[in-house]
């Protein structure tokens, strides 16, 4: 037998429900903590959602955030946040900072004079400075963007819920939507606790987590449905364990390949998309966890109706199986 790299032994017999109250409790706790964190700490919203201006500066001279702050102080711009950006892909003499300025009273996007004044003040303290990007969003658009973002996540969940409901039983739909909301909420919670910048790209990442999480869950459910037809008398709990063990090697394999891609992006993909990729990285890990420990548990709690209903005349449980290529 040829050697194969195996992260999961060929045959596993893990009892995923052994610690079900611990794991499920941990999930509930994580969701509650995340919601509390968002309510208490709030999110570090980017200009997309809060309005205001971000300026990315780049200089060949070593930069001092304090000097920049002092240079901008006379302009009375209100809340100004300056952070230095570090990235392994930067050249040795590439010093990057992000300056964030709150939305100015009575203005939509920042005025040309405003930008000119800021740029002039910074050039005065650092002649080598350049401004690779300037982004300004008015408060009107930003509040709309928040709503479309929330709407996108809600509509995404609803669409998935309907699909899973149609393809499986309603219990499965509840289980998978609970799992994906768990993943999305905890990811948002992490962004809140560590005050990472939350902008439009993070919403895209959340929607991907949503897709990934449900993908993972559906594969197990699909197998579960197959087993339900196969072993008519096995207790549900045992069957779920069997199913999870059968698909475990696939679950880990797919998570690993996805993580490999994401780790490459997070280390080499540059700082512009770091937040975005980080959200996905975290989401894939938690999505895998919730597949094994959240979705099934909910289905088990809700119970399944296993009385042999005549299933609309289909002998095969592979509804798409009749293709050949």
């Amino acid at each position: 037998m040829a050697w194969r790299l195996k992260l999961v032994p060929e045959k596993t017999n893990i009892d995923f429900f052994k610690l079900q109250w611990v794991t499920f409790g941990a999930s509930v706790l994580a969701v509650v903590v995340s919601l509390l964190a968002v309510a208490v700490l709030g999110l570090n919203l980017g200009v997309d959602f809060k309005g205001g201006t971000t300026i990315r500066t780049e200089s060949t001279q070593a930069l001092d955030v304090g000097v920049y702050r002092a240079a901008l102080a006379p302009l009375e711009l209100g809340d100004v946040a300056i952070t230095q950006v570090f990235d392994p892909t930067f050249r040795a003499d590439q010093h990057v900072a992000m300056i964030r300025i709150e939305a100015q009273e009575g203005e939509e996007a920042i005025t040309p004079e405003g930008i000119a004044a800021i740029e002039a003040a910074l050039v005065a303290v650092d002649p080598a400075i350049t401004f690779p990007s300037v982004e300004s969003v008015g408060p009107k658009v930003s509040s709309e963007l928040i709503w479309t973002a929330i709407l996108a996540v809600a509509a995404g969940s609803l669409g998935i819920w309907i699909y899973v409901w149609l393809r499986f039983e309603w219990q499965f739909a509840v289980g998978s939507v609970a799992a994906l909301l768990h993943d999305v909420i905890v990811t948002v919670g992490v962004f809140s606790i560590f005050q990472l910048k939350f902008d439009l790209t993070i919403v895209a990442a959340l929607l991907t987590i949503l897709g990934y999480s449900v993908n993972d869950t559906v594969v197990i459910f699909d197998r579960l449905r197959e087993n339900l037809a196969k072993y008519k008398t096995m207790p549900l709990r045992e069957m779920m364990n069997l199913t999870a063990n059968e698909t475990l090697s696939r679950t880990i394999m797919t998570a690993t390949t996805t993580l490999i891609s994401l780790i490459c992006l997070v280390t080499l993909g540059g700082d512009v998309i770091r937040g975005f990729v980080f959200a996905m990285l975290f989401g894939v890990i938690i999505g895998t966890y919730s597949t094994l420990y959240v979705a099934k548990n909910i289905v088990l709690m809700l119970g399944l109706d296993r009385s042999d209903k005549p299933k609309t005349g289909k002998p095969s449980d592979h509804e798409f199986a009749n293709v050949d290529a």
Binding site: A2, R4, L5, K6, E10, T89, A109, I110, I115, F131, P132, S133, V134, E135, S136, G138, K140, L145, A152, G156, G159, I160, Y163, V164, R167, T201, V203, A204, L207, T208, G211, Y212, V214, N215, D216, V218, V219, D222, R223, T247, R250, T254, T257, T258, I260, S261, L262, C264, L265, T267, L268, G269, G270, V272, F276, M280, H318, F320, A321, A325
Partner: protein, 555 residues
């Protein structure tokens, strides 16, 4: 059993081959770009090619596909603006223009309504007082006669003016239906004029789209900054020529009835009192070009159409020795004295311009004035170096990620891992091919989407292989195990991908900007990965099984 009909095999191969060819131009991006530009220029010149263009065209064979993925602003650099058209500006203009008409028509019935005076009111509303209240009914009827029906589907049958009596005053404003119709027209005109102005500047592939009721999205790659773009499109560029009645340094001076006080564009605390009505307006211009005056300073020369030329000629003949004002967007840019009768309808505008300003002004005058002012809700500038850095980082991450996944698959599945890798490469090529062909725009989140697709595309193969392993463990023959593996894994692949597509479609419909770019690449990636995992891998695996007829199979 493991038989694939010939036509199906050929079709799969044909699609793969198409994918390779259609993805190819992206590997030679600048070359193909030059070729495409040259082809466009040659077509525009009706087949006449300059030597340079012919050389550029020869950089890429005409027979090969030449569609490229266009690069988004975050990768190429450029400016992004979201503008709101202040549609209500137009109401005020319309109503102000109505006043002389109202006055003249009420003058006809002077014996019944008495004297007529315009009363101050908010912009967009005309209030007219009549001295004889008994004539109100007649007056209302007269004013209502000035209205015309609204020409839209929804507002059909309603009148464009709303005329009511308020005590001794007649109140005239645009009707609701007319406002809606006017808004439509205003935004449409603004869009057209912005497009003309941006085209005049001559950049590659600008995006100019209407968004919502009164918004316009403008994205121009390759422009230095959003400020530059604003200078081109943000100016209303309303040009008119007026009679000058006086100068003053008092900003609060009373210009007198039917006159206006307008500031000088260059000198502080210099104001002109000019006639309210223009002698000639900018709409009579047919051409404007940057040029120089007799002292060699930058200027803009212009030409009127016959109507404008006649008006301008008559006026100059009658007012020799008097100054007149050239007013641009409520500022006097110059106020020369008329030296002689200017016939022929052409002239020159001097002022303290730089060469750049005079070029811009000429562009603006040629493209026409915007019907209303615009405010900017959102603006973003991305420098080209930042974009290049992002492309480089994305490429590096993509290549390293690809190699790592390839190695991981070979370690996990041996020969079948190599099969999966071939499918993976085909998948990426097909994804790029489809993106190029439909002219999708690649953004940074889009690159992330491609890299993620790589990771997730493997999922379908993993599902199939794990299933084949199981069937083999159950003691099935290799051929049977492969067949069952593909068949049984299909339901899972389908379900998981459909949910992925649902998420992508929702992102595309609801999202904007980065969310959309990501949705497009992941959405298309799901389709291509299903094709490669199910059809391409299957073709490779069955070919292998039929060729080697292995007694024993290790996946």
């Amino acid at each position: 059993m493991l038989h694939t009909p010939l036509w199906k095999r050929l079709l799969i191969l044909a699609i793969v081959l198409w994918g390779i060819l259609a993805a190819l131009p992206n590997a030679f991006y600048t070359r193909v770009e030059q070729h495409n530009d040259a082809v466009k220029a040659i077509t525009a010149a009706e087949g006449v090619a300059t030597e340079e263009q012919a050389a550029a065209r020869a950089l890429w064979p005409d027979v090969l596909p030449s569609a490229l993925m266009s690069l988004g602003l975050d990768l190429r650099g450029g400016a992004h603006l979201l503008a709101r058209v202040q549609v209500s500006d137009v109401y005020a203009q319309r109503i102000d223009a109505l006043w002389p008409e109202v006055r003249d028509s009420l003058r006809d019935v002077r014996d019944q309504v008495g004297s007529v005076r315009r009363q101050p009111s908010v912009p967009g509303v005309l209030r007219v007082a009549i001295s004889n209240p008994d004539g109100m009914a007649v007056a209302l009827e007269k004013v209502r006669a000035l209205a015309s029906p609204v020409m839209t589907l929804t507002g059909a049958g309603s009148s464009d003016l709303e005329v009511v009596a308020d005590g001794q005053e007649i109140v005239v404003q645009l009707s609701e239906a007319e406002r809606v119709a006017t808004d439509q027209r205003t935004v449409q005109q603004s869009l057209e004029i912005i497009r003309r102005r941006v085209d005049e500047v001559g950049t590659r592939e600008p995006t100019i789209q209407r968004q919502g009721d009164d918004r316009i999205l403008i994205q121009v790659p390759g422009i230095g900054s959003a400020q530059e773009l604003k200078a081109v499109i943000g100016t209303t560029a309303k040009l008119s020529f007026h009679q000058v009645l006086g100068r003053t340094s008092d900003a609060g001076a009373d210009p007198g009835p039917r006159n206006r006080l307008v500031a000088d564009a260059n000198e502080e605390s210099l104001y002109y009192i000019i006639s309210q009505e223009a002698v000639v307006g900018g709409e009579e211009l047919t051409d404007a070009q940057p040029s120089f005056d007799q002292n060699g300073r930058p200027a803009v020369s212009f030409r009127f159409n016959p109507t404008g030329a006649r008006l301008f000629g008559d006026y100059t003949a009658a007012h020799i020795g008097e100054p007149f004002a050239i007013v641009l967007d409520d500022e006097v840019i110059s106020a020369p004295t008329i030296q002689s009768h200017i016939a022929g309808g052409s002239g020159i505008i001097t002022g303290s311009f730089t060469v750049e300003e005079s070029t811009n002004l000429a562009v603006l005058l040629r493209a026409g004035a915007l019907p209303a002012k615009m405010t900017f809700l959102e603006e973003r500038t991305i420098g080209p170096e930042l974009g290049q850095d992002s492309i480089d980082a994305g490429k590096l991450a993509g290549i390293v990620g690809m190699l790592a996944v390839v190695a991981y698959l070979v370690l996990s599945y041996g020969l079948f891992g190599i099969f999966a890798n071939i499918a993976l490469v085909v998948n990426i090529l097909l994804l790029i091919a489809v993106l190029s062909t439909i002219g999708a725009t690649l953004t940074l989140p889009g690159i992330a989407g491609i890299v993620l697709t790589m990771g997730m595309a493997v999922d379908a193969n993993v599902l199939i292989y794990e299933r084949i392993r199981e069937e083999l463990r159950d003691g099935k023959s290799p051929a049977r195990a492969v067949e069952l593996g593909f068949e049984r894994a299909f339901s899972s692949i389908m379900d998981s991908n459909i949910t992925g597509i649902i998420a992508a479609v929702i992102m595309f419909v609801i999202g904007s900007g980065p969310v959309r770019g990501f949705a497009v690449t992941t959405g298309i990636g799901i389709f291509t990965s299903m094709f490669t995992a199910v059809y391409v891998t299957r073709l490779i695996v069955t070919t292998y099984i039929n060729w080697r007829q292995p007694k024993e199979l290790v996946v």
